[in-house]
Symmetry: C2
Subunit: 311 residues, 2 copies
């Protein structure tokens, strides 16, 4: 089984307390595809301009990521410029140049239409819907969004969610979309929109997985080396869908493990700018960090006769 | 073994999105003592004014909380007035009247000096130190503090921490005390001040337990019914120290379970104003919530042959 990832391909200008980088490889589809590529074959669907460096395409190909769905257009690649303050929790956008991403509305190839595992990174929900329409027999569709679409394309977004198996949002998006400050209630509201699972990504506080009757909480890896948070959410999603494609199962036990794998992949991605850390990442490092998180959360059962009887 | 809790006894005016209460029972020592009383005999050390209602004293006694260390003085009981916005994460103080708490500097009775498990709730760190000086052979001392002491009594606070086994702080206090925004690094800085364990309470995001070499993460109970957050941290601490006193052990396995019990007790306390929820709480409810958190965090090991080999 292979993974189809649709989203942005970007050249980013980034500034964090640990340095600056100009015109580095980024974009939601890139971060998600690279994270997924450790577990599965990946097909990337996106667009870039003529300025997109061949070295970046070569890097993606070297990771087994199919680029037949990456349309190279006249013009410049989508460009995001942003910075992070000292606490690194919030990305501040300086400038967004859509460039060739403006009007992006992909027509899938016959092979891509047969994809089983699909991750729709942040895009106009109407475009996400048209991609879903083209998939012939999906096993699992996961999707992301952002505050802009919640504010400006609410009805389309809700329709898209109703046709998605797993909706991924960050904490703020979940609160905004549901109009409910309590995350447990927020998840219930979003499940009510018709997806089967909701994942709320909480950055340094981990991630929550909900379905009707399921409530799973994964911590983040205890991260000391946070250099550049850009792409953390997409790396999470890529690891998540890549793992599920690799195991070919999507019961709750596997969804839980997929959430932890997502956290692990995000934790590596933030250790260096752009995709730099992913270039040296090994399977042993992934396994080791997964097992570390397992140890971080394990605790035993309660003793008998613990209570004073004052109740 | 029994627990000694020293801290404030208060009459609170509270306002949350779910209602208002005037002059209700509160205070750090009260919340901590009540939570601990489910697991252990508790001795409360504090002070109240002549206006302190007998019904409150009777309630504490009914929970097996010894009040021989509660000094009733001429004057009014410590009074806190505060409110919570819709998100409930931050307490906004309207007014603090120290009243009889001003100059509180307890002299322990011979029996109290023999206490084994001590929780020093938020107090002037110089007073916390003088209490520690009076304990003859403590097995476990846990302490809390607040931003005011971090800002105004740093040296005394650090000395107190060096004589404490377990330091409890919330997220902001940990960052402020350590001058380090990354919580993992913040915990290391605070451990460097000389305590053996640091617990960072993160409210809805759970709690972290650190020692040199240990990193444990507990989620909070997935709470839908959050009515009044006042006393959550002290209920956590009370459940934590009460449990450890009950089992009489303080290895890392038990410290982890104690953190989860702390989360459980806090989760009940916030379900109603003041101590109301604790009045009806049963051991079965505590056990059930503990087991719920166990299920929330459990996930299995990774499969073999998971990786594409692209690394």
């Amino acid at each position: 089984m292979s993974v189809l990832v649709a989203g942005s391909v970007a050249l980013d200008d980034l500034k964090t307390p640990f340095g600056e980088r100009r015109m580095v490889l980024g974009g939601s589809a890139v971060h998600a595809s690279v994270a997924a590529s450790f577990f599965a074959g990946v097909e990337l669907v996106g667009t870039a301009g003529k300025d997109f460096p061949q070295a970046h395409a070569d890097f993606l190909s070297s990771r087994g990521i199919g680029l037949s769905g990456l349309e190279i257009k006249e013009g410049r690649t989508f460009h995001w410029e942003g910075f992070y303050e000292y606490d690194m929790n919030t990305a501040h956008t300086v400038k967004t140049d859509l460039n060739v991403l403006s009007g992006f509305d992909p027509v899938l190839s016959p092979a891509h239409k047969k994809s089983t595992h699909i991750f729709l990174a942040n895009l106009d929900p109407e475009v996400q819907l048209r991609i879903i329409d083209q998939i012939e027999s999906p096993l699992l569709i996961a999707a992301d969004t952002m505050n802009y679409w919640i504010e400006n394309k609410g009805p389309a977004l809700k329709k898209m969610i109703s046709r998605t198996d797993i909706m991924l949002l960050n904490e703020m998006e979940a609160r905004q979309l549901s109009e409910e400050p309590n995350l447990i209630k927020a998840a219930a509201v979003i499940l009510g929109m018709g997806c089967r699972y909701v994942i709320i990504k909480k950055g340094e506080h981990g991630a929550l997985l909900f379905s009707k009757g399921l409530n799973f909480s994964a911590p983040s890896f205890p991260q000391e080396q946070l250099t550049d948070p850009t792409g953390a959410g997409d790396s999470f999603a890529g690891g998540f869908i890549g793992y599920l494609s690799a195991v070919g199962l999507s019961g709750e036990d596997h969804l839980k493990k997929a959430v932890v794998i997502g956290s692990v992949m995000a934790s590596f991605n933030v250790e260096d700018f752009s995709l730099e850390r992913m270039k040296t990442l090994t399977r042993d490092e992934i396994i080791s960090r997964y097992e570390h998180i397992q140890r971080c959360v394990h605790f035993g059962g309660l003793e008998n006769n613990l209570f004073t009887g004052k109740e």
